[in-house]
Amino acid sequence: MSDPRGCVSLGKIFSVFAVIGATSFGGGIVAYLRRALVEKEKWLDEDSFMAALEISQTLPGLNSTNMSVIVGRKLRGAAGALVAVLGMVLPGAVAVTALGFAYVALRHDPKVAVILTGVAAAAVGLLLQVTLKIGWRQLVQPRDLAFVAVVFVLVGIFHVSLVVTLVTVAPLAIWINRPREEDKAG
């Protein structure tokens, strides 16, 4: 594969990400990204896509915008990262704004209120399903499950601030998963 770096126009980067931002529904953006970036445009091979995804998931921020930053940067540096994020976020932001105007105007209508109740109840199901799908490996492994439970109780039940939770639990979790000598040998 020829190296696409530096030769893709900013307009092209923007349009590719804007199409993803306008057509991806329901949070499965990673699948859309793979199709566009790896299969269609061939800006990344499978390995570098997975590497970029790993960073996106580990760093704070949304996976989709982090992916945009990383891929945009690889293609055209800071300007590339900027147009990629704008392309990813703007279509959804415009749609949400339109939905929001309708929401503010109509939410006191009792008919609209029951629709929104149904929509919200369904959104909980979606969120739960996504969590279980991403997290089943952590939920079946006792050591990981213990961390899942501790974080859930601290943040969900006792409303301990996220900063405090991360500063205390994350170093412990990373230390427990620290590189071992036998890993090097294996």
Binding site: G118, V124, P179
Partner: protein, 180 residues
């Protein structure tokens, strides 16, 4: 103006704390915007989150509507910027460092250590939303059975089929209209 600054401070912090994606900050965001600042009500928060599921692109763009509730269009733009920009900037610089740490065993340790924390936060997000959206103690058991049932039906449908998630959300709205 003060409200805008407060919004920006709040959402910029959320942006930098959103490890593993936006849903991880849901419980903290709900606690902050509903209980601490009283920017939106419990129900509004759940509804705004649900609207985000109906729009394309990153589902957390809906947080901008909290800004809209607080101070109109200026609030909307401020929250959008505050929630996306800091994390993107951090990602821009850290991804350069991360590339350089390729092959370090500690990179793996960070990933394996953070994974269960992210799942715990996401479950806490489900719980925070569900407390409002799926179970309302003020309503009768039949009402709560329906809202819980809608959520369960969506989760099961998504696990068993490859249906577009936005459609299941719309179906939830239709079910609410007919049943509730």
């Amino acid at each position: 103006m003060n409200k805008i600054i407060e919004l920006v401070n709040n959402f910029a912090l959320m942006s930098l704390l959103a490890v593993g994606g936006g849903t991880a900050v849901l419980p903290e965001m709900k606690h902050d915007t509903v209980d601490r600042h009283h920017w939106v009500s419990d129900t509004q928060f759940a509804e705004i989150y649900s609207l985000g599921q109906l729009a394309p692109g990153p589902n957390m763009t809906c947080v901008s509507l909290i800004g809209y509730e607080v101070s109109g269009l200026a609030g909307l733009v401020a929250v959008l910027f505050a929630f996306f920009f800091p994390a993107c900037l951090l990602c821009y610089f850290v991804s350069q460092v991360w590339d350089a740490a390729e092959g370090s065993p500690w990179r793996d340790a960070v990933q394996r250590g953070m994974a269960p924390i992210v799942i715990g936060l996401m479950l806490a997000g489900c719980y925070a939303l569900g407390k409002t959206a799926s179970f309302d103690p003020a309503k009768g058991w039949d009402y709560n059975l329906l809202t819980l049932g809608i959520g369960a039906a969506v989760a099961i449908m998504l696990s068993l089929t490859r249906i577009n998630p936005a459609l299941t959300i719309l179906a939830g709205g239709v079910a609410g209209y007919i049943l509730l």
